[in-house]
Assembly symmetry: C2
Homo-oligomer: 316 residues x 2
């Protein structure tokens, strides 16, 4: 079976581990958000792609949630000694090696898709990973800062200010000149089912859907699309979706996110929607099922994936 | 007193420590070779500037001779895992931080002189350090490799092949478009004495002299120029000058190098020439003195410097 998965970073990474566990032998592609990507200290950093790659390879730091196991921070300490800003974005030494390899390849003219494939040669994630786009398409956040309304890079808002500055809106800088990557379009056009990971609906999944070509491919595809709610009760399982959804006027609930995504039959993206077993949701035109949605380990996540595939099959 | 010093890497660094020790309160400038500079893994690397900066700051690894104390090699190991070449040029983690800061500043449009001054803000070498030029002016070496005569970067010849490939010549790539840095010219024009460190006469001092403006500034300056021989007996004290001098038809001896530099009065650069106390040398037009020239510690080096200044004064 051909499965395409839309995924953000840490949540997307855990979800993809579950897909891999649930579907051995199937043809899975991870289409990963690159709206969080940022250039710092001259290094091109792709947090979501790296989280997914490291996590699928088992090389991630499970306790911290992001970055590499057995990481060290010597270069960051040197940056501080040099006064090289910013200092609010932690860069591990091992991680910097990845960024150096990527930056060099990008500077040499390779696409981000090519670079990602090259990095995955080492990590063997078991699932082909493709960026949503090869073009820069960065999420910026409209905030009030030092008395002025201005746009800051998503990472600055997320990491530096811990999403503590009220967001007045999200902007995808570069989106007008961006297009979906060939790998993303190929995966979506050949998919027999599309899964939407329980990632941030605004700055992960929403960003992927904002790339010209992605939403159209979902709408035009024959594959049913099943999403999983990242909201349990009235809070995100992890991350700060509760700081993002209200900006778009979306209720922080499984139903709110389901309705925000909307039914494919009426211009949205969903055929099926999984919510946590303590939640209920009514999404017009979308088949909803409630099951445990906590990704406590690969087995639990695989069970979620199997239910999502059943729901997709029921629709098909 | 205003003193300008032409210097290469490790030998130049030790020599500058001696100048600093011998001349407290004097106005010293180090004009450093950048012909060894190289871009690897997307990082702009200035081995001689860094050797001098680290050594003057006491942050160098005295045993290894180059790079930082307490260095680690995690990123290099990662590069190997990624198959990112070249692997023959060792890059320490702490050192990479320096290269990242430099590369980012250069990419932002700062000159190498500006970048060097910024890095020295942290290291406080006690002596202003200026690159010979702000332009790229890289030493390449003509060799026979895989049956073909070709030019390889100096670092490839020096580090990868340990100068084991016969050199047929040295080329300063970019020299036609290069000019001496403003800092180098200012130091030379205001100097009351110029010292030529016992660095490699071909690929360190020779490279500096090859930059348009340097040799002219020495010739036109009122300051006496005194050099120190890097050759003792018939071998370099360190490094591989014996693999370089014959390429230019220069005898590997203190006299050979002294004659190669030549008297300022006849188109060369020297007024005085210090050779080791076991050597003798006759260089027409140049006052020669023999004293111990082993830079075993800062005191020994400072004694050499004091003798060089006496020789300059005798000439003046």
């Amino acid at each position: 079976m051909r499965i395409a998965v839309l995924a953000g970073g840490i949540g997307g990474a855990r979800f993809l581990r579950g897909v891999r566990a649930a579907c051995p032998g199937d043809d899975i592609t991870g289409i990963v958000n690159t709206g969080d990507d940022v250039t710092l200290h001259g290094l091109r950093i792709c947090p979501d792609l790296d989280s997914v790659m490291y996590t699928l390879a088992g090389a991630h730091d499970a306790e911290r949630g992001w970055g590499r196991q057995d990481e060290s921070w010597r270069i960051m300490d040197e940056f501080k000694q040099y006064g090289a800003e910013p200092s609010w974005f932690a860069l591990g030494d091992l991680d910097i090696a990845t960024h150096l390899v990527r930056t060099r390849m990008l500077d040499a003219g390779y696409s981000l898709s090519d670079v990602t494939a090259a990095l995955c040669q080492r990590w063997q994630p078991g699932i082909p990973l493709v960026p949503m786009s090869d073009e820069r398409c960065e999420t910026h956040v409209i905030v009030d800062l030092e008395g002025q309304r201005r746009a800051v890079h998503f990472q600055e808002w997320w990491v530096r200010y811990r999403a503590g500055l009220t967001a007045h809106g999200f902007v995808q800088v570069g989106v007008d000149d961006a297009k979906a990557s060939a790998g993303a379009l190929a995966a979506l056009s050949s998919a027999e089912v599309v899964l939407v990971a329980p990632s941030n609906p605004v700055v992960s999944i929403g960003t992927i859907l904002g790339v010209p070509g992605i939403r159209e491919a979902l709408a035009a595809g024959r594959a049913p699309v099943v999403g999983l709610s990242p909201i349990i009760g009235n809070a995100p399982v992890r991350g700060m979706a509760d700081a993002c959804l209200p900006v778009l006027g979306v209720e922080v609930s499984a139903e709110g996110v389901g309705r925000h995504y909307g039914a494919r039959s009426s211009g949205g993206i969903l055929d099926g929607w999984l919510v946590h077993d303590t939640d209920t949701a009514t999404v017009p035109g979308v088949r909803v099922r409630a099951v445990p949605l906590l990704m406590t380990d690969d087995d639990a996540t695989a069970a979620m994936v199997r239910t999502a595939l059943e729901l997709a099959d029921a629709r098909a």
